[in-house]
Structure formats: structure tokens, C-alpha cells
């Protein structure tokens, strides 16, 4: 249970106990008041008791209703007055109380009673105001009755004192309840503020994920490309030595010819026939290798070209083609990579980011098929959306994994093989474009990821 909930509960408890205290105290005061009547007006004992109990009985019912309805103050006063008048009428019928008694005691009593009841919902400061008014009213009534018996004035005064005592107690309880409510509110606000901070931190972290993932993806790509470059580099390095030897042999032959030496004798020793054919082969091999390095460079440039800060008008097919061109070399001969390009209109998007989505999805598919299988990459135009789908012939996605697919750090790959940020990043990028990415649930053999992008990103 949080602090806020605890305080909220305490406040409710205090609220309940404040009502309870009111009723208990009033119940205790009744016999006391009756006892007091013995001294002030022993001749009206039965009448007083019947007036009090009928008012109190009806008032208790009204009291309960007031509490339950939580209505505004004015309707409560109106209802209270109505109930009191009803009580007076009942008492009148039961005991035929003299009019002076009814006027002096029951009205005063009902004011005190209802003032106390209303104090349960009014602010604490109202106590002073209400009881001052009650006192003035009672003095006024006593004077208006021709100041009959001083004891009847003190009788009323006694009511006021006891009611003040109740109100003081109830007020104290209410103040504590208010304090607890305030604490609860403060705690809730504090929790909300903490949540807001946590949310901001999370958002910030997510943005960092995307940046990290981008570096990871680039790192992986660079590792693949460096391997791609190694082979042609190796060929070039291994051919440079022989070519310079061949050149030396040819130079030597030229020197002999110029000096009028026995070129025929040196011909075989210098392997001139072999040198002539093999040098051309070596140079061709170097040229081919240089061409391979250049092709890698061109693909990399095409892939990186779209990495702009703002969305630009671009062709999704171009992006997919350049991404596949770069990945294709590391695809083994037993993996079939099928490309199908639909007729697409130009659209506005971050081509560099969308290329990263394509790259991640195809890399995942390559990892899943594990060197042998089939991967289909398809683009299409549906309504006002560009659709990119990557389908693999791997084992598919388990029911358990489906629920977490796009969460950061979720991975089904071995430790150290996957960061768990690939699909999370795809999700971030696609969402930022106002699009969607999902696993095609209807596809049963392998996995099929579908990305839908609007023709223009949200403003």
C-alpha cells in the first residue's frame, strides 16, 4: 500500500469516527438533559422528553440520509428544518406540549442539533459563527418570552455548551481527516511527478536505444563489409609481388636484347612466355578485385545517402534495393533472397531510417534461416500506405515471444549475438513516421513482418 492510499484510508476512518462520536455524545447528553429538566422544569418532564426523542429519532434518519446523499449545504438545512418541524408536530400530537415550551426549547434544540450536524461538513471556523448565532437567537427568544424564568435561559445555554463540546471534538477529528486527505493529495501529486520524471527518463532512454542500435547495426555492417573487402585486398596484395617480379624479368630480358646478348638462352630461364601470360592474369585479377571494392563502396554510399535530418521525397524501392545490394554479398549460396518490387508512388520519409528498418528485418531473417532457407522481400502500395514485408522460412515466432517482440532488450538470439534492440528500433522509427510494424499472425510458415508507412509522415 502506498503512502497516499494509507492516508486516504486514515482520512476515511476519521470521517466515519467523527459521525460516530457525534451520535454517541448526543445519545449520552439526552439523559443528562432530561436530568437537568428535573431542576429547570419538572412539570414538563414528559413533554420535553417526547419532544426531544421524536425530533432526535426523525433527525437521526435525516442525518443518515444527509451523510449518504452528500448534497449541498442549503438542501441539507432545508431538509433538517423540515424534519425538525415534523418532530415538533409529532411531539405536539403525542404530548400536547404547551406552545411556550415548544417555542423555547424545540426550536433552540433543533438549531443546536442541526448546526452540529452541519458542522460535520462545514469548515472548522464555522463553529464559532454558528454558535454565536445560536446564542444570540436564544437570548432573543428568552427576552421575547418576557424573560420568564432565568433557569430556562441557563437550560438553553447548557444545550449550547454541550453542543459546542461535540462540535469541538468533531472539528478536531475533521481537521485530522483534512490533514490526512491533504497528505494523500500531496503524496499522489508527488507520485505523479515521479511518474512524469520516470516517463521522461524512459523516453530519453528509448531515444538512446535507437542511437545505440544504429551504431550496433552499423558495427555489424562494417564487420561484414570489412570481410567483403578482405578478399579482394588479399588478391591484390598477393598479386603485387609476382607482378613486380614479372616486370623485373621482362626488364632483364630487355636489357639483354639491348646489349645484343643471348636473349634466346635467357628466354626460358626468365620464363618469359609464362611471365607474359601470367602477368596479364595477375593484373586482371587485381582489376576485378579493385572493382569489387568499388562496388562495395558504391553500395555503402547508396545506403548512407538517405541519412538526412528531415524527411525527403524518396522511393522506398530504391532504399530496399540499396540495402539488399549491400547485404547480398554476405548471403550464403544456400539462402535464396527473393525481391519483389511493386509500383510505388514517391513518398516523404527518412530514407536512411527506413533503410535501417529494412536492414534490421533482413538481418533478422538471415539470422533465423541460419545460412540455408528462403527470404522474400516485397514492396507494395495499398490505399494510402507503402507496404514493406520481409518473410523468412525460419521456425517462426513462438507464442511467448510474440508478446515481447518489439520491446527493447528482448531477444531470442544467444547471449552476445543480439542486442534485443533491432525490432524495438524498427518500431520506434516506424511509429515516428506514423506507420505500423507487425508480425503477420495469419502467416504460419516462418515469420512475416509487415511495415506500413503513410505517404507523408505526420506533421
Amino acid at each position: 500500500m502506498t503512502d497516499a492510499e494509507k492516508w486516504q484510508r486514515d482520512a476515511q476512518k476519521l470521517e466515519r469516527s467523527s459521525f460516530l462520536v457525534t451520535f454517541i455524545l448526543i445519545a449520552c447528553l439526552y439523559p443528562l438533559w432530561t436530568f437537568f429538566d428535573l431542576f429547570t422544569a419538572p412539570q414538563f418532564l414528559a413533554e420535553f422528553a417526547s419532544v426531544r426523542f421524536s425530533i432526535a429519532g426523525l433527525s437521526l434518519i435525516a442525518f443518515a440520509i444527509v451523510r449518504r446523499t452528500q448534497s449541498a449545504v442549503i438542501p441539507r438545512i432545508a431538509m433538517g428544518t423540515l424534519v425538525t418541524l415534523l418532530g415538533v408536530s409529532v411531539a405536539w400530537l403525542v404530548a400536547q406540549v404547551p406552545a411556550s415550551v415548544v417555542v423555547t426549547y424545540t426550536i433552540g434544540f433543533s438549531i443546536v442539533f442541526w448546526a452540529t450536524a452541519l458542522l460535520l461538513v462545514w469548515p472548522w471556523r464555522m463553529t464559532v459563527v454558528v454558535y454565536s448565532l445560536c446564542l444570540i437567537a436564544h437570548v432573543g427568544l428568552w427576552v421575547a418570552n418576557g424573560m420568564p424564568d432565568p433557569r430556562s435561559f441557563f437550560g438553553l445555554f447548557w444545550y449550547l455548551l454541550s453542543a459546542s463540546f461535540i462540535a469541538t471534538l468533531v472539528g478536531a477529528l475533521r481537521r485530522r481527516s483534512e490533514h490526512q486527505k491533504h497528505l494523500a493529495k500531496y503524496e499522489t501529486e508527488k507520485t505523479n511527478a515521479e511518474l512524469a520524471t520516470a516517463l521522461a527518463t524512459l523516453k530519453d532512454a528509448q531515444e538512446r536505444f535507437v542511437a545505440t542500435e544504429k551504431l550496433q547495426a552499423l558495427g555489424r555492417l562494417i564487420a561484414q563489409l570489412s570481410h567483403e573487402i578482405n578478399n579482394p585486398m588479399n588478391v591484390i596484395e598477393n598479386n603485387v609481388g609476382p607482378v613486380s617480379e614479372y616486370l623485373a624479368a621482362l626488364g632483364k630480358a630487355l636489357d639483354i636484347a639491348r646489349a645484343g646478348g643471348d636473349l634466346e638462352a635467357a628466354w626460358d630461364e626468365l620464363e618469359i612466355d609464362f611471365v607474359r601470360t601470367d602477368m596479364q592474369d595477375a593484373i586482371d585479377a587485381m582489376a576485378t578485385s579493385a572493382g569489387r571494392v568499388r562496388a562495395i563502396h558504391n553500395d555503402l554510399r547508396a545506403f548512407m545517402r538517405g541519412d538526412t535530418a528531415l524527411p525527403t521525397e524518396a522511393d522506398l524501392n530504391d532504399g530496399v534495393r540499396s540495402t539488399i545490394a549491400m547485404l547480398k554479398r554476405s548471403v550464403g549460396s544456400e539462402t535464396e533472397l527473393v525481391e519483389r518490387y511493386g509500383e510505388l508512388p514517391k513518398a516523404r520519409f527518412h530514407i536512411g531510417q527506413v533503410n535501417q528498418v529494412t536492414l534490421n528485418l533482413i538481418q533478422n531473417a538471415l539470422d533465423v534461416v541460419g545460412g540455408a532457407g528462403r527470404i522474400e522481400v516485397e514492396t507494395a502500395h495499398e490505399d494510402d500506405k507503402l507496404v514493406l514485408s520481409v518473410t523468412d522460412s525460419g521456425p517462426g515466432v513462438s507464442e511467448a515471444a510474440r508478446r515481447h517482440l518489439f520491446e527493447p532488450f528482448f531477444t531470442t538470439k544467444d547471449v552476445g549475438k543480439g542486442t534485443g534492440l533491432g525490432l524495438a528500433t524498427c518500431y520506434q522509427i516506424v511509429r515516428a513516421h506514423g506507420g505500423s510494424i507487425s508480425l503477420d499472425e495469419s502467416h504460419t510458415r516462418g515469420a512475416r513482418f509487415v511495415v506500413r508507412l503513410p505517404l507523408a509522415p505526420p506533421a
Partner: protein
């Protein structure tokens, strides 16, 4: 006997080079044709066939190859022809599998790719003990 020495033609070490890229094989053969008797195989299974068919002093294999990778080639070679020295070449010298192959003695050395001819010759010389 002085003067009558007929220089024995020094037998060049027979080295089998395994790589799935033909250009690499040809470049290697070209580069080492004077120092080594270079045999080539363009896949793991082809290399095993060649080891079975001809006497070979050393096998040098690329790591990344389809069907059978370099470590798999060397483990078969180590089992069947333990006298044949074994070397592995890779562009990814940080791969754990290569290091464990080295540790287990499957490969006497790891050579980075691209390699320098002088480094390869020095390694061969050290392993075969011939100039």
C-alpha cells in the same frame, strides 16, 4: 667431398591452400610459386579428398566457407593426418571459434587476412623447420 657436390634440388614444401574464392587461390599460388609447391582446393570436402590423395606437408585454410568451415577441415585433418601442419586464415581473427581451435591445437597459427607473404613464409619455415 669438395667440388663434387651436386646441389640436391631442395624439395619445396607441399602446401595445400583451401579457400572458396578462386581468385584467392590463384593469387596465393602465383605469389608462392617459387617458394612452395602449392596445391589448391576450393572447398572443405575437396581439401579432404586432396589430403587423402597426395602427400601434403601443410594445409592452410580460410575460415569462412560454405558447407564446411576451416575449423571443421582442420579437425578432420588433425584426426586423419596428424603429421600435416595446420594453419588457418581469417578476416575475423577475433572469432571465439578460431581461438579455441588454436588453443586445442587444431590450428598451429591464426593468420589474419589479408596477409603478408613474408609473414606466411616465416610461419611456414618455423612450423616445417625448412628454409
Amino acid at each position: 667431398m669438395a667440388g663434387s657436390s651436386v646441389v640436391e634440388p631442395v624439395r619445396k614444401p607441399v602446401v595445400l591452400i583451401v579457400d572458396d574464392e578462386n581468385e584467392n587461390l590463384r593469387a596465393f599460388a602465383r605469389s608462392f610459386r617459387k617458394e612452395l609447391d602449392v596445391k589448391t582446393a576450393s572447398s572443405g570436402p575437396a581439401a579432404i579428398d586432396m589430403l587423402a590423395a597426395e602427400p601434403v606437408d601443410m594445409v592452410i585454410t580460410d575460415y569462412t566457407m560454405p558447407a564446411m568451415n576451416g575449423v571443421q577441415v582442420l579437425s578432420i585433418a588433425a584426426e586423419k593426418w596428424p603429421h600435416v601442419k595446420r594453419l588457418i586464415i581469417s578476416g575475423h581473427t577475433d572469432l571465439a571459434e578460431l581461438h579455441s581451435a588454436h588453443r586445442l591445437g587444431l590450428a598451429a597459427e591464426l593468420l589474419p587476412k589479408p596477409f603478408r607473404k613474408a609473414d606466411v613464409l616465416a610461419t611456414i619455415e618455423r612450423l616445417l623447420g625448412t628454409p
